[in-house]
């Protein structure tokens, strides 16, 4: 397996959402990621469902496991006065430090960039504050779904005349914010390899998400027009929608951009290829299409439409994606054996590297699983010192 980031050691204070996915991707590509966490204030995800029936506790959350695979866990109780000096020593053994606390938290521990870069000019220091480290709202709290709302992504998502619905997830945590953070972090690694220089990366989760509204911002600035909720319709294709199939709550997405695609759809559904302007008659066409798709098995219809040259896909559920033949063919899901949760199917990187999947190397760590090893190897503590710090609830 490719280990492009082998030799990179990351001290990771990220918790909960977007940050954890950034460092999970680093770990997948071979970085040694040391997650600093504590029993006194565990990562919210460690206590969040889902959990396998019959399991419980801080090591049983599937939510946590899905974004912390391949990391090491170092239990350090940052509320104990002896903890921050240990964390600073640990930082000296790492060349990347990541966090997503509110502004000021790392600085209070003496772990701000200014504190750490004195000894390490090559340090790359990623922070992911909700709205940035400066400005009147820098201390405002947020989660993916509230950031999506603030950034203008939720409002145009939904059916006309109904309440906005967004993605139904904390989308900014899963796509734009970890993705953008990785782009900046990897670019900083490229720069450091060339110059030896590190530096700060500040990813405001609001700004990162709002950047994806860029096309709408451009259009608004030129025309004064705002996007509105249009369901699944778009100005550049018709029909363009999601239609029912046989069975309970099963759906297929279909996109028709050209006359050839329209003819293909009509042929498969055995309906007339209405020559009128499709955009003008979209309501009527959608009804006719839905009446026909409802008789079809969704997978069979997808196969037939694709064979007829029509872009179409089953609206896969979070269960379907595990059985999807294309994802399976890419080796996308990898089963990891977790000591508490048992077998856990974990996502690989979304790319194949020279045809091979890049997957997590180990399941999410138990809380503190690697504390003793890291204390010994990186902090130089002997077993007696380690045991004393555990007993004092510093390494805790």
């Amino acid at each position: 397996m490719t280990a492009v980031l082998a030799g990179l050691r990351v001290l990771d204070f990220c918790w909960v959402g977007a940050g954890a996915l950034v460092t999970q991707a680093l770990a997948m590509h071979g970085a040694e990621v040391i997650k600093v966490e504590s029993r006194t204030r565990p990562d919210n995800l460690r206590v969040a469902p889902p959990m396998r029936p019959g399991t419980s506790g801080l090591d049983a959350s599937g939510y946590f496991a899905s974004r912390n695979a391949g990391k090491k866990s170092f239990a350090l109780n940052m509320s104990h006065p002896a903890a921050a000096p240990l964390a600073r020593r640990l930082a000296q053994a790492c060349s990347v430090v990541t966090s997503n606390f509110r502004p000021g938290v790392m600085e209070r521990w003496g772990l701000g960039y200014a504190d750490l870069c004195r000894d390490q000019p090559g340090l790359i220091y990623l922070t992911m504050p909700m709205q940035g480290a400066t400005g009147p709202h820098r201390h405002y709290a947020g989660f993916g779904s509230t950031i999506a709302a603030l950034a203008g992504l939720t409002e145009p998502s939904g059916q006309p005349g109904r309440a906005p619905v967004g993605t139904g997830t904390h989308y900014p945590d899963h796509v734009p914010n970890p993705g953008h953070a990785l782009v900046a972090l990897l670019a900083a690694l490229v720069h450091r390899a060339r110059t030896g220089q590190g530096g700060r990366i500040e990813l405001s989760q609001l700004e990162s998400t709002a950047s994806l509204l860029g096309p709408a911002v451009i259009r608004y600035s030129v025309t004064g027009e705002l996007p509105s909720r249009q369901g699944n319709r778009v100005p550049w294709a018709a029909p363009h929608g999601v239609y029912p199939c046989r069975g309970d709550d099963t759906w297929i997405a279909i996109c028709v951009r050209t006359e050839a695609e329209w003819a293909g759809l009509a042929a498969v559904l055995e309906m007339e290829a209405d020559p009128r302007d499709r955009k003008q008659h979209e309501d009527e066409l959608d009804e006719r299409i839905a009446a026909r798709t409802a008789r079809w098995d969704r997978w069979e219809l997808m196969r037939r439409l694709q064979a007829a040259g029509v872009p179409a896909a089953v609206a896969e559920t979070p269960g379907d994606v595990f059985d999807d033949p294309v994802l399976a063919g890419r080796g996308y899901w990898r089963t990891l054996h977790h000591p508490v949760m048992g077998p856990v199917r974990s996502a690989s990187a979304p790319h194949l590297w020279n045809g091979q999947p890049v997957s997590p190397r180990s399941p999410a760590p138990l809380l503190g699983q690697h504390t003793e090893q890291i204390a010994r190897d990186l902090l130089g503590l002997d077993h007696a010192e380690y045991a004393r710090l555990v007993a004092d609830q510093v390494l805790w």
Binding site: T2, V4, L5, R52, G62, T134, H137, Y140, A141, G142, T146, L150, G158, R162, A163, V165, T169, V175, A181, L182, V183, A184, L186, A187, H191, R194, E202, E207, S208, A210, S211, G214, I218, Y220, S221, V222, T223, W236, H240, V242, D249, W251, A253, V314, A315, E316, T317, P318, G319, V321, F322, D324, R330, Y332, R345, A347, P350, L352, N354, G355
Partner: protein, 406 residues
């Protein structure tokens, strides 16, 4: 033409961008960080940018957005000279990013898409290029469906509804940039032979379904779209005087946020709010019951009705409750935090011949020097000069676009 910024993070990196909308954002991200990105515009190709066309103009807002800070070159692929030019550009590139059919046909004709010694080639597509997905047709909606994200959006009483704004394409672009930089790091780290990276948008999204995949894997429960019905008391979208606010004071929130929210409802004198102080309301199990969700929504909206989105936003944030207005794009442009941080930028667009507002960059790198922003090149690409400059060749040397041969 974008200003060269050799001291920028990617100041030494040359990128060929031969993408359609599914991958074009990748090159934009690399260009913002200082890479010299040249966009291939095949002459005579079908209009690839129907998305977000700006009324009254010939340009697409998505195209202007993703092509900022790039150069472009029009290449006549039906001529030997044009093909030679493209081959020369690819040979000089550290990174080649592709999406769409043109690059696929190029490769099928046996032509390389990267420098053999150490080049990185990233291809973005809805289903990936390896195996059964390579032949499948898609647009943004189809990719959202295949990746599972579509199924979680929309209302329980209707079909799944896609998120606004070609998010699948933008996700493809972001992850293509990530893949490109990983390939570059491998090459610069001495891994010989180069890298072919095959990015699947379906895979990106299947890994972005929150806890829903883990829920199915561990419990067998298939999460369904909840739409405008909250999944839990304390979290969701709530109507107020002039629209909606989004709030998270439930599962992922803190106990303190829930207590603060209940205290606020009680202070507002909302009839029935005192009942939320009962210990059972502090449990996820109780807050997830449909009757709990309905009760909370009634109480919350009774209190919220007296507030605008902005009032409610600041009132709840003062109490450390994660709430936010459901903003339109106009509201976003008026956001005070973004204004104070100087987020939005004006760029003079050469195709529109006017200043245009751009969203700011997704991150700030205060210790690095970054290039200033310059207009996207004209749609359709420029003739030879840009390519000659990019190749570092003298005019007329390697840089024929094939136009003379036509």
């Amino acid at each position: 033409m974008p200003a060269a910024e050799p001291s920028a993070p990617l100041g030494s990196v040359k990128v060929v961008d031969w993408t359609d909308p599914a991958g074009a954002y990748a090159g934009r991200l690399l260009a913002d960080l200082g890479a010299d990105v040249v966009r291939i515009e095949p002459a005579g190709a079908a209009e690839p940018w129907p998305q977000e066309r700006i009324p009254g103009t010939v340009v697409s807002a998505l195209e202007r957005f993703v092509n900022l800070n790039k150069r472009s070159v029009r290449v006549h692929l039906d001529t030997a000279a044009g093909r030679d030019l493209l081959a020369a550009l690819i040979e000089r590139a550290d990174i080649v990013i592709t999406s769409g059919d043109g690059p696929r046909r190029w490769r099928q004709a046996g032509r390389p898409l990267r420098r053999s010694r150490d080049g990185t080639h990233v291809h973005v597509s809805a289903f990936g290029e390896h195996g059964a997905g390579a032949a499948l047709l898609a647009d943004d909606l189809i990719a959202l469906a295949a990746g599972g994200l579509l199924s979680l959006g929309g209302y329980p009483d209707g079909p799944p509804v896609a998120v606004y704004g070609t998010q699948a394409y933008l996700a493809g672009g972001i992850n293509a940039a990530v893949a490109a930089l990983l390939g570059l790091l491998a090459a610069r780290g001495g891994q010989a032979g180069g890298a072919d990276l095959d990015v699947s948008i379906q895979a990106i999204l299947a890994g972005a379904l929150e806890d829903a995949t883990a829920e199915y894997d561990l419990t067998g429960v298939v999460r369904r779209r909840a739409g405008d019905t909250p999944r839990e008391a304390g979290t969701g979208v709530f109507a107020c005087a002039d629209g909606w606010i989004a709030m998270v004071a439930g599962k992922l929130g803190t106990a303190a946020a829930w207590d603060a929210l209940v205290a606020w409802l009680c202070e507002r004198g909302v009839p029935g709010a005192e009942a939320l102080k009962a210990p059972k309301w502090a449990t996820l199990e109780h807050r997830r019951r449909p009757e709990s969700i309905a009760t909370f929504q009634r109480l919350m909206e009774a209190a919220a009705a007296g507030y605008t989105r902005q009032q409610l936003y600041h009132e709840l944030q003062r109490r450390r409750i994660a709430a936010a207005p459901v903003n339109s794009v106009a509201d976003l442009l008026a956001d005070r935090q973004l204004a104070v941080r100087g987020y939005f930028r004006q760029v003079h667009d050469t195709a529109l011949d006017r200043d245009v507002t751009y969203s700011g960059p997704p991150y700030r790198l205060p210790d690095h020097s970054l290039p200033g922003w310059s207009s996207a090149p004209p749609p359709g690409g420029l003739a030879g000069e840009e390519a000659r400059g990019w190749l570092g060749a003298a005019p007329g040397a390697a840089g024929e676009t094939g136009e003379r041969a036509r």
